[in-house]
Symmetry: C2
Subunit: 254 residues, 2 copies
């Protein structure tokens, strides 16, 4: 029986999604161990895509094949949430078609990158938004962001060790907004970059966010995005933003 | 020169406010070390009161005596925030009267206790609100809460190892409300108990919250609060709620 599983996680204390040799502390390894325990057989979980160490998921979508003898879906979710650490939560489990594939069938993905411009960062936010005290030119950043929309070769915004066949991707939406954050102890607005695309390369959102902040800080003009895209050269773009401001937000299937 | 210093902290990874022998990981020890470093002399910080391990402070008020040669207040705050870990933040520093005393001069304190009634707890909230999936009888809890207001002997809601001279305290306000929590990744309402009083005994808010949840879960009627107050016996009240839902919210001075 094939399952579609939606999970949410705080990536702070994990070495990213993907299972790694000699690193038991990945979300995939922890999740598969717990699911296998409940399903009483070795189960593999396939995600919509990897997330790096420190990157969070509001929603990450997985598929997994479990035997028909596995517990009923509500009990399975409850059992998983009892066994998993509190920074990984199962939001939803449903039966999927026998050929549903969480990675290959994803047609759109949305990532959000959060920036905290408050003078003193609330302790609650330290792992969830990039704290930047310097004044940023939001108008220049918004102007530059527009150049990302459409089909482009994003090689300049891709980590050197990427294993992708092609670096061409389509961005459907790229815009800045305000998130009226209301934590438990503190409350103030955050700035947020929203990117929706056909797919994303390794470090792509983080290097876009870093380049936009580079522009916002006045170290380059808004034309930097367009020039970097044309150059296909990582060195032509700005630095990579830290992982903790990045959230995998949504995955859409056909 | 005497300073009034307002700080905020996430208490998750500390052994409470108060300095302890053989435990370097207290907020007081870390704060004093950093302040002494900047002031270039050994400085002691006195807080409005202790908080236990795992308890947070939206605002905790301190006083400290620093030499006239210490950096100007804005630079001092900035310097402290650079040296301190991100789970302790300095919000405000101002000059105080020579006899200002953060503990003795406090006339009112407010604590909030957060309960997360959502089916699946957002990873972001795991250290900040007590997750309770069982249905609670909020009407019974509200009724019981009213009995706390006024001057009472709170011995039944006090840890056995308390060093307080008297267990009589006055509660000015005690009520339940809703906190419309809007985190970075998720958003849903929390239930929150607000207690304002002349002062609080060791574990007092946590044992009140635990007793109210005991009542809300149907394990006892609303009269339990009144009966426990009369008994002056810790065993007559309910269990102690976990520390991570508790926030020191505000301290008022004359």
């Amino acid at each position: 029986m094939r399952l579609k599983i939606c999970i949410s996680y705080d990536g702070t204390h994990f070495h990213g999604w993907q299972r790694q040799k000699n690193t038991p502390n990945t979300i995939q390894e922890i999740f598969e161990t717990r699911l296998s325990q409940i399903a009483n057989t070795r189960v593999t979980a396939v995600a919509s895509g990897r997330t790096d160490a420190g990157v969070h998921a509001r929603v990450q979508v997985l598929h997994a094949e479990v035997p028909e003898t596995a517990p009923e879906l509500d009990r399975l979710r409850h059992g998983l949430n009892s066994l998993l650490p509190p920074d990984i939560r199962v939001l939803l489990i449903e039966k999927a078609g026998a050929d549903f594939h969480a990675q290959r069938d994803a047609v759109r993905k949305t990532y959000l990158y959060f920036i905290d411009p408050h003078t003193v960062q609330a302790p609650e936010l330290r792992d969830y938004a990039w704290h930047l005290r310097l004044p940023l030119d939001w108008r220049a950043m918004e102007e530059a962001t527009g150049a990302l929309v459409g089909e482009h070769d994003f090689k300049a915004f891709c980590a050197a060790d990427s294993t992708a066949n092609t670096t061409v991707r389509t961005i459907f939406e790229a815009r800045w907004g305000v998130h009226e954050w209301r934590g438990v102890g503190h409350t103030y607005p955050l700035r947020v970059l929203r990117l929706t695309g056909s797919g994303f390369l390794k470090n792509m959102v983080r290097s876009i966010a870093g380049t936009l902040v580079h522009i916002g800080g006045g170290k380059s003009g808004p034309e930097l995005i367009r020039n970097a895209l044309t150059s296909r050269d990582r060195k032509a773009a700005g630095p990579t933003a830290p992982p903790h401001g990045l959230w995998l937000w949504d995955v859409l299937y056909t």
